[in-house]
Symmetry: C2
């Protein structure tokens, strides 16, 4: 029977996704197809077979990393224990470690949105879904804190995260994540 065929864990499709994930982060989504193909060591045809084109590949990369990033945020929350306040602070701690880590180059999703002026590009739907998911994580914790303005407070925390990502990409020496965490405390305890 073999109902489920092994998804060739290291097949051309996965190699393309991995290569594109790295290159679009370090060089932006404007990176050339040739560079992706070379890094993935995959035939040109496979790209168009699996993803329909460059746009499809980029959208799929964002879809993949969004799921992974949201999982990481969820894990950071869980590392804070049971109390929502501690959970949120643990998340901002993990966030600070992330933006301070070597190789940090800014927010992949903000970069994609800014680099693709075409509003109908499939990538925008992915970045929108990502932010919605992150907002949901934050809002849920704030609701558990008994906040009646959980949605608005989640907007604030999301704004702090986005601002810190933008600032960390251009002025890392000011430790923006630390400033964001300090303001987050005000929002959480507000």
């Amino acid at each position: 029977m073999e109902a489920v065929k092994t998804p060739t864990a290291n097949g051309p499709r996965e190699r393309l996704l991995e290569a594109a994930r790295e290159l679009t982060y370090t060089h932006g989504v404007a990176i050339g197809v040739d560079a992706i193909l070379a890094k993935a060591r995959v035939a040109r045809r496979s790209l168009y077979q699996h993803f329909g084109g460059k746009d499809g590949l980029i959208a799929q990369v964002l879809h993949m990393t969004a799921a992974a990033d949201l999982q990481r945020y969820q894990a950071a929350l869980d590392s804070g224990g049971d109390h929502p306040r501690q959970r949120l602070l643990a998340m901002f701690d993990a966030f600070e470690a992330k933006v301070s880590a070597a190789g940090f180059r800014g927010c992949r999703y903000a970069a994609a949105d800014l680099a693709l002026p075409d509003r109908n590009h499939p990538a925008h739907a992915e970045t929108r879904a990502y932010r919605k998911g992150l907002h949901r994580l934050l809002e849920h914790e704030l609701e558990r804190l008994g906040r009646t303005d959980a949605a608005f407070a989640a907007d604030k925390l999301l704004l702090l995260l986005e601002g810190a990502l933008a600032a960390a990409a251009t002025r890392p020496e000011t430790y923006p994540a630390r400033a964001a965490r300090a303001m987050a405390v005000q929002v959480i305890d507000g």
Copy 2:
């Protein structure tokens, strides 16, 4: 004598700057040279004569808009009267109006930084100078408030502005500038 020659207020140089200012904002700095030339109704040669190339034009556009934007921020501060607290709040009010205005498409400087992976591109020096100038405006008001941590507090306000710009570009329906202003009050009164 004519010590100062009229800088041909509507000469090719000015038309190029104006066209590039608009097009790089709506379509990103990846916009083609041809589109800029067509909009400015200027000969191809004039671009290379005046700016040396596309990179020089982009850098000059950022230099020009940075000066204008900083002047606008200064004017917004001044509209708040004498007291630093009122001046800063007036500035955040003006900021909210700006990001809510029709045609707002995000932060020109953040977009330029993200779209130009080459760290040596002259545009980066302009965006850095712009942020430094904005930071100076904020820090000066905070110093007048007697804050000993004026530099750090200015970092926070700058982070709020950058975060609101990023959020307003992708989620305008959440009124990020309003959230930023609310948090700014906390920082200012902190």
